[in-house]
Symmetry: C3
Subunit: 327 residues, 3 copies
């Protein structure tokens, strides 16, 4: 599938699609984070419920399963009053582009306003965005290894809640960087927001290409990489990759790259620990760290639904009004 170049903005500069964070300015990202913050509530406090999206239809079109992300988008849309339909489709690879577009045209004709697309192949969200009618918005819910923009935003929001500002921060991203859409999107968010020191830590076989993650220090030693950082962001590693050529097996991976209390002690004392989930406990992260006092993993989830509410409200609201969680 060709990697179609799509402008995410309308001619008046407002945000229409969210496919990648790369083209967003610092001001745009901060606007989305500020809006998301209005939707954040502490655990146990009822989430904001509104009808700002009443009459709007959101379709979750997922061609690879991801229950957690689907539910997060679904609740974000429902809490703003939208109608939501879920489609989980297996498209045969031979006719995938065509089938995807025909499905998208069908949804568009059913008066779907926002299409949330998740696909294992690069280019699909962009292809859809390039072909829908002007009033339709496309949000990526994860595109191959390329991009996962709402994850990048929720990671940035989480860091901001704990560290206030990105200037002066050291952030370590650890694990399967090469195949990670999360690493790419979060890196772009952190960098755009001003984080000066972003480090990537991975075994050589999981390092990204040289021209990616510009300006990041690269470490193959976890101990060296996390030294003195404010944020340790762990990535999920696919069990299937374990023990393959050039990769250690699960036990050796954990010994070398798993985040344990001992390894975390090399970071700053108030460093926060993040993970996009689902976690492989005992492989990329020790359970006591995942559940420990420095972990902000559950904040990430809570922030995820707030970010998705903000993005939905932003792309729809900028068609004509403004939708916020707080007055």
């Amino acid at each position: 599938m060709s990697d179609t170049e799509v402008d995410q903005r309308r001619s008046d500069g407002s945000l229409r699609h969210l496919l990648t964070l790369e083209a967003l300015s610092r001001a745009e990202i901060e606007r989305l984070l500020n809006k998301a913050q209005t939707f954040v509530r502490p655990l146990g406090v009822a989430p904001p419920i509104g009808d700002g999206l009443r009459g709007v239809t959101v379709a979750n079109l997922f061609t690879e399963p991801s229950t957690r992300t689907r539910v997060s988008f679904e609740l974000a849309a429902k809490r703003l009053g939208a109608d939501v339909v879920n489609l989980e489709m297996q498209l045969s690879s031979r006719t995938k582009g065509e089938s995807m577009l025909d499905t998208v045209y069908t949804l568009q004709s059913l008066h779907v306003d926002v299409m949330v697309i998740r696909d294992a192949e690069p280019g699909v969200p962009g292809l859809v965005a390039a072909n829908v009618a002007p009033h339709v918005s496309v949000l990526s819910a994860g595109e191959a290894h390329v991009s996962h923009p709402t994850q990048g935003l929720l990671d940035a929001l989480t860091v901001r809640q704990y560290k206030r500002r990105f200037e002066g921060l050291s952030i370590a991203i650890v694990g399967d960087i090469r195949h990670s859409r999360v690493a790419r999107s979060s890196f772009h968010a952190f960098r755009t927001l001003g984080a000066p020191d972003i480090r990537i830590i991975a075994p050589p076989a999981l390092m990204p290409a040289d021209d990616e993650f510009a300006g990041c220090a690269r470490h193959t030693s976890l101990t060296d990489g996390v030294r003195g950082v404010d944020v340790v962001m762990m990535l999920r590693i696919q069990r299937e990759r374990m023990g393959q050529a050039d990769l250690p097996d699960a036990d050796r991976y954990f010994a070398q790259y798993g985040l344990t209390a001992e390894q975390l002690a090399h970071a700053k004392p108030d460093a926060i620990v993040m993970h996009p989930q689902p976690m492989n406990r005992g492989i990329e992260i020790a359970s006591d760290v995942a559940d420990g006092p420095q972990s902000v993993i559950r904040d990430q989830v809570r922030n995820g639904v707030a970010v998705r509410m903000a993005v939905l409200a932003d792309v729809i609201g900028s068609r004509g009004g403004s939708i916020e969680g707080d007055d």
Copy 2:
């Protein structure tokens, strides 16, 4: 499963079930089309939202997957304020009739008011309709090769929008007529509404039995069949049938029965092209025709949700009130 004969009407003549278009009068079909038209909005204009079905529960009970049709019914019901539950069930063939009825009795006891049934075997929607309580309505969402009444209505609505009246129209239905519930239902709608010249075009192996499609001219040549028609309605062909005994393979099928610009040129200059989707582009229809200026395929989809809103509003509204999209 026996093909139970069910009266689709209540004793006062109002519509209770929609299983087939065969028993509907011209006035009844026109009433449904008129009501559907009140729910039609152009692309980009918000669809009508109401609460005429508030407190009503609609269950989509599909035993063969059809995401598009399910979503169309789901949005139709939600936009009228109904609660919707989706059930996708595999019933073992040995006990299918019993299991289906027990499931239906369960749904009925859960206060489901409308059951939307899709099944690959003939007779199931009728069997259900014959057994539910008097206040429950059954809508077929596709019954084997037999019937797909809401598809017939949406096809008729689409033709009416472009051609105004059926008197004097020539309509060609092309492809796997033998196995097509769409062809059967649309034929009945067109015929009842007064279309004088309906032609069926298919390879000999895909022609229906002699006693079906009464009064239709039969063509094995696409060129001959589409000559001078106002409407060309293409059907989906199952790839699995390709290359079987008596059937050409995909390339030869496209050469003989695929609708290309060259073939379409034999129809009237303002002929419209229809397809129920999903399309096999390059097999039954050329992509440039599917996406070309004469294609009304996306109108069909838009009309589909309007027709389903109309049918839901009609069968429920005639229990006591009236529900329309426009005043």
Copy 3:
């Protein structure tokens, strides 16, 4: 998975979780039945619709499929105005406990207030309840062979509707008692509510352990067991068990333990017949009995959604208000 002991009540004595009926007092069960009764409507009368749970999010987290129970909980929640999300997950057994808890923490962080859990392994609902935040409630929708509390309540409600009081009642539970969560929960409900004579009837291989079903007479003869009872409650038998060691095949099972009109004639003339569904007609119950005048099987289904509304309203309402169906 360890069988965590969890207190189902808050410190003020109100009900927070519903995992088992064993710890509930007669007054608590009667309060739930009374509340459920306010939500019961005859077939054909619109069910009560409210917004007592507006702003509340209910997640159905099912790791074994059960469409009927899922739909019953889904409609109960929607009719009280809650948002509902459905998750059907297959968790690999190796990491099941961890994966389940991480999923649950995710749902909690998404501001899910009630988790409805169904799992084939014992201990899972209790494990979840022991780990969620104080404002979150956990409802079991079926736990292995151990417990199915809302089924027990709906069975009790059904008996009460027909027999008014439990004092003096004779109740026969027939079939695969050993593996049945339904039998266990309904037994506890009947016993707590005062039924003096509860009999279990099963082939020897399907009898429960000696220390279970205390005080119940045990019969291996159906004829002896149902003699003079007020209630005959049949259980579903797994076809897979048929014809295994120590078990008769399906035909012989039906001959010995299937409820036929002849066998039912040994019960009281006004005895009612119950079954939790889905039924194996012709194996554990004859079709004419299942559909006959003494069958209250469809009442059970109707009562199921009322019971689930009552439980949802109770656990949420006791956080701060009161929600009923009737004034």
